[in-house]
């Protein structure tokens, strides 16, 4: 095994181009487990800790450009207003020690269906900045996950950052596990209201071969909210609409039975989380509307 230690982003890209089998390591919270358990013996380890810019973020007009190795603890502490869904998801990651090291770039690189960040990224809307010596391409996060622990990266590409849309409305994240800390999701759900575009987006974790959006459920809900004038009148969402939304979200799952839970349980639980988080975010939306109306 060789330990490659690029001092800059350019050096890292050159190293990855020269050694496409090199395994990037930043927080190490996935890679080191595999090495410790002898599940993986990469020819090269590509340490990204020395590339300082990967741990930085920039808040722009419409998006946050989140460096690939910004630790979850920093997202929780500094980006709660801009990325509320991702901040909530970050808070459910493992433990403080792990959140101090792990980041979204690693979650995307590993592309486990159970990765905590994915549902939040899908719901908020995000693009992955994939870079190689050949150039940069922006991959919509919906198209990034290609299979169980597989992603759209080419062998010579590294994740530089993920560009996440800044919240324009309430966001929520919910995760089922056996305890509050140190849990791999049995299943998870993220939701984001986008009042500017009058749309709702979703993300399902750990209930299909890849993280997925519940597109049919989104389309149904968007149409129902539009038709009933809910965005304008701020009324409580009709229970039958919420119920149908939850059913369609559950229907978007394609889960398996495994040690953490059965397929049937996952489908059921995702439906429950969909209904609850829709209620929570909608209440928040109605609340902010009322505050604004009261102030005006």
């Amino acid at each position: 095994m060789d330990f490659l230690r690029p001092a800059s982003w350019e050096e890292a890209l050159a190293a990855k181009a020269a050694h496409p089998t090199a395994v990037p390591i930043a927080g190490g919270t996935d890679v080191m487990v595999e090495i410790n358990f002898d599940h993986r013996r990469p020819e090269y380890l590509l340490d990204l800790n020395r590339v300082g810019e990967l741990a930085a973020w920039e808040v722009g007009q419409d998006t946050v450009r989140l460096g690939a190795s910004v630790p979850y603890s920093a997202i929780m502490e500094h980006l709660r207003a801009e990325l509320p869904g991702l901040a909530l998801a970050s808070h459910t990651v493992a433990s403080p020690q792990i959140r101090n090291r792990g980041g979204v770039g690693g979650n995307l690189g590993t592309a486990s269906p159970a990765g905590d960040a994915h549902p939040a990224l899908l719901a908020a809307g995000a693009e992955v900045e994939a870079v190689s010596v050949r150039g940069t391409r922006m991959i919509p996060v919906d198209a990034f996950y290609t299979g169980v622990k597989r992603n759209a990266l080419a062998p010579d590409e590294l994740i530089r950052a993920v560009h996440v849309k800044k919240a324009d409305g309430p966001q929520q994240y919910s995760k089922v596990g056996t305890r509050n800390a140190m849990v791999i999701a049995v299943c998870a759900f993220g939701i984001a209201l986008h009042p500017e575009t009058r749309t709702v987006r979703t993300g399902i974790g750990s209930a299909a071969p890849t993280p997925v959006r519940a597109k049919e459920a989104e389309e149904f809900l968007n149409a129902a909210l539009e038709e009933g004038g809910f965005w304008e009148n701020g009324r409580i969402i009709t229970p039958s609409v919420a119920k149908r939304f939850a059913q369609l979200v559950a229907g978007a799952c394609n889960p398996i039975d495994d040690v953490r839970g059965t397929a049937a349980y996952r489908r059921h639980a995702v439906g429950i989380m969909a209904r609850r988080t829709l209620g929570w975010t909608w209440e928040q939306y109605r609340g902010t509307r009322r505050t604004l109306e009261g102030a005006a």
Binding site: M1, F3, I25, T29, V33, S95, P96, R101
Partner: protein
């Protein structure tokens, strides 16, 4: 490969380190500092918790090469680290090498009552003393990781709520089911810290 790490305020070197080796292995097997415990090797249990550039991490998930040139505090150096917390260079040692904990002293470090230490070995840190006073140590295996995590909590949040304590220690498992007394110990250390400030 050779790895140079500042451990407990003093620069240390390890040779013939395998590229896939963890920081934990280097500390325990190459530097003779077995205070950080090796249990799950997957970041579940927290018994290998150390400070890496001040941040609590699972040393089993840090590749040794990633720690090159960085600063590590282990439980063996915790007393000295706590004593120098207010210094200009907490945990980093000073140029003359008179601060920090030497490898030799760290290797011989044993927990004992305050005041009974020889001149060159550190006394207990407040959190260590509180663990003893509260009876928060049973088999002791999880204790080093808990001490490092709890010490960092009290550094960043001097008056933690119970929720803060639970959250900060959520990545440290104790299988003797001693959590209540561990919580007591952290509360005790926090209360003593507050009193000292007053």
């Amino acid at each position: 490969m050779r790895v140079t790490i500042t451990v407990n305020g003093r620069p240390q070197e390890a040779d013939d380190v395998w590229e896939g080796e963890s920081l934990l292995y280097v500390l325990r097997e190459r530097m003779g500092l077995p205070g950080s415990k090796n249990a799950c090797e997957q970041g579940e249990c927290g018994s290998c918790t150390v400070r890496l550039d001040g941040v609590p991490v699972c040393s089993c998930l840090v590749a040794a090469g990633q720690a090159e040139g960085r600063e590590v505090v282990t439980v063996e150096g915790l007393a000295d680290y706590a004593r120098h917390r207010e210094d200009a260079h907490p945990g980093t040692g000073c140029a003359a090498g008179t601060c920090g904990t030497s490898l030799d002293a760290a290797q011989r470090w044993q927990a004992g009552p305050t005041g009974a230490r020889s001149a060159d070995s550190a006394e207990l840190s407040p959190i260590q003393q509180a663990f003893i006073d509260a009876g928060a140590v049973q088999c002791g295996f999880c204790t080093p990781g808990l001490l490092v995590a709890a010490d960092e909590l009290l550094e960043t949040r001097p008056s933690p709520s119970d929720q803060d304590i639970r959250e900060a220690l959520s990545g440290n498992l104790c299988r003797c089911t001693g959590y209540e007394k561990i919580l007591d110990a952290v509360r005790l250390a926090a209360a003593r810290q507050e009193e000292a400030v007053r």
